[in-house]
Symmetry: C2
Subunit: 458 residues, 2 copies
């Protein structure tokens, strides 16, 4: 079996546990706030799409350590000098913090917190690795899928990448993320079952090859799926295959081109199908597609009705990771609150609990964001971070069934896309980029933290 | 919770299920053989490392459909005209086929089957997507990790990429694959617990930032971990941090550099530590490392003792997918055996059940592979594909505990690496590439299949 048990407290980097031991044993009783954000846009991206929050909250509500897991830790050499109270602590461990987050499907930018966790420092620290891993995956795929569905300009895109996603869980969650960012469905049947995502697919080359005669392969499939067959026509020779289908006299729902000169073939196939009055038979195209190829096909007027996109989508192939981080921004201890930041040369950050304020122009389009402190107020802006968990439990608004949560996220993204400036929707890098700036108070608070830090470390 | 349940028959592309319905309903009672192989080396790779077989066999031994899953399928519009016998079939479904495979840790090349499945065609077809997804992930990561550990030239490499792996399952399995390919361990605690992989890690920047004073942060950690502390020294200023540690008078196990000019800093830190007689304190380096940076550091004589490699490794960032495919190569029906292949212009394949024959030169180094038919015999070559499953159950030799399986796979890779020609171990593309050729009989059989196909499709 796969080792996945999302509720296991061990699904984390060991250093979260050694630090936890350090905090418990040194009686470091602080309440901490961490923010999860992205430092820079990955290659080829003009914006990011928040996704994965539902699974992150699932984790926070269920995370714990089994007795066997605690015994494993106790026996590790690194914990040799750690007192028993730490292992007792782990046995009772539950996450009981507060979480604010961007609702899934929200468009966001570097520097903007996707998620903010406030909890006793051990709790907030222990969940770092899995929160990053969960939010990173779906945000990565949704941000790629947004480009692909934008390039398809209204034509359905089906997520086809299960076999190349990074494992079976990633395949299901990639399907979910792709659906949020506008895909019409997925080939992943489990994603259909579990999340209610529409599922698509009919036949592979092996079906055609298993039959000695290609025409038999088509007829036999049409017998079983008289209304739903999308027949794969490129196993041997596309034009011969189309003529064999026509010769059956039975109109399939569609035909699929998966290799070769799909642009040229699509033109030929459309004409041939139209000649026999089958103008409603759809041409479905797949095979190493990405947003660039789709855009090029459509620019050249290719008569393609829908697309299946696999590897490029399910692995975000051109940018297979995002520099997402989870940074300590505030420590509250002995009734004193201290903003924290890192001042090493290449990785600076802003202290304090933040909120994202999004401004719109007169036409309702997104005009710019301000990252401010949580208690700031910009009356004309939307506040993007919302409370989603209090004391370890989802707030009422975050307690919807999986399918509803997903449909809402998708609707949120599709609405957001209509509010994005045109240059962000281009496949090329946006010029100008979307304006995001720290508020005057955030800057001042960063300057103050830096001065106080430099004073202390002079 | 994560949707992962590796045993679910729904973890597959829908078309596997529609084809299954087609085979059942059209009474297509064939026994089929599929081979899983890679068409081309991904970017920057000279060879691949087989991994993931254990999880693939777990899947094959457990795959089934629950009642609820079958009901879900029955209600899908695409199955509207499918007879009840198909759903009865799914309710009883178990995989009962035979499997041959490369043992994990085996070095292999394009065109060489990693896995060969022979089963009733429906069974062999239904497992396609999940087999690909499982084998692909770990083979991808092991093949990347092999480069990283080779570049480290004997220094330990710790897999540090859980937060950027594609989800929590991928993070655990990436740790497993990286260990097979020579990593000394992982930061992923679950991978340690579940697979027995050595785990590493002590503190993050947040530990230092949470304390008002960096020196306190170090002392407090040394209190809890007197022997095992690797202290992170780049939160503010590396040289100041080193001096603070020295001032405690307590020697840590090591120090970690994670940002900035790690090459220059490592030289300074080594000298400073040596000055105070701490020449056994290790310098551990992390932060956006990959094989190229490691090789460059070592070429320049950097005094680095060990490396933590994250994103580049856990996502195989420079080549985040491999073109792995699962092709029908033989159909046995009505006592007739027919080799199958695809003859479309850009994606040809060889028919028939294959074996890989590996030849060594006089020094015992790998000299070249021949891909032949299963029943061929080359007395001086090793046969790489071994039987691992019969009638749906692991053969005796494949029934080891997880930790033993993993240690054997790692030993197999480490031995294989010593037998690889030098140019394959270079980070640059190998010239010449490793020689792999089809046997004369395989070529003849492909020609015959092509002639017979062209005759039938003229």
């Amino acid at each position: 079996m796969l080792p996945s048990k999302l509720s296991s407290g061990l699904l984390t980097d060991l250093y979260e546990l050694t630090m936890a031991a350090g905090y418990v044993q040194s009686r470091f009783d602080a309440r901490a706030t961490f923010e999860l954000f992205v430092r820079q846009l990955p290659r080829n991206r003009n914006y990011l799409v928040a996704a994965g929050l539902e699974q992150a909250l699932d984790l926070l509500e269920s995370i714990h350590f089994t007795e066997e897991e605690v015994s494993y830790l106790r026996a590790l050499p690194v914990f040799r000098h750690v007192q028993p109270e730490f292992f007792d602590y782990l046995s009772r461990f539950r996450f009981a913090g507060d979480v604010w987050a961007l609702p899934e499907g929200t468009v966001f930018f570097p520097g903007e917190p996707v998620l903010r966790v406030t909890a006793p420092i051990v709790e907030a620290q222990l969940v770092e690795t899995s929160l990053l891993s969960i939010i990173h995956l779906q945000t990565l795929i949704a941000s790629k899928a947004a480009r692909v569905t934008t390039a398809a300009a209204g034509r359905p895109v089906i997520e086809f990448g299960s076999r190349r996603a990074h494992g079976v869980d990633a395949s299901v969650l990639a399907a979910r993320a792709a659906f949020i960012a506008g895909c019409a469905g997925t080939s992943n049947t489990y994603a259909g079952y579990h999340f209610g995502i529409p599922v698509y697919g009919t036949q592979a080359h092996s079906w055609v090859m298993a039959h000695e005669d290609e025409a038999d392969a088509f007829s036999s499939f049409l017998d079983v799926f008289p209304e739903q067959s999308t027949l794969l026509v490129d196993t041997y020779d596309v034009r011969a295959a189309i003529d064999k289908i026509i010769a059956t006299g039975r109109k399939p729902h569609g035909v699929r081109l998966d290799s070769g000169d799909v642009l040229g073939d699509s033109v030929w196939v459309r004409r041939r199908l139209d000649e026999v009055g089958w103008s409603d038979v759809e041409i479905f195209v797949s095979g190493d597609l990405d947003e660039n190829r789709i855009q090029e096909f459509l620019r050249k007027g290719a008569p393609m009705n829908a697309f299946g996109v696999g590897t490029a989508l399910s692995t975000s192939a051109d940018a297979p990771s995002i520099g997402a981080i989870y940074k300590l921004v505030e420590v509250e201890m002995d009734r004193e609150v201290r903003g924290t930041a890192k001042f090493s040369t290449d990785k600076e950050s802003y202290p304090g609990r933040k909120q994202i304020f999004r401004f719109r122009n007169g036409q309702g389009m997104y005009a710019g964001d301000v990252i401010g402190l949580e208690d700031e107020n910009f009356p004309s802006a939307d506040r993007l971070l919302l409370p989603v968990m209090r004391k370890g439990w989802r707030v009422e608004a975050a307690r919807q069934d999986r399918a509803t949560t997903l449909l809402n996220a998708r609707a949120r993204f599709l609405a957001a896309r209509t509010s994005l400036p045109d240059q962000l929707l281009s496949l090329a890098l946006a010029k100008p980029t979307y304006p995001v700036s720290p508020s005057a108070r955030l800057r001042a608070s960063a300057d103050e933290a830096r001065r106080s830090f430099l004073g202390a470390h002079a």
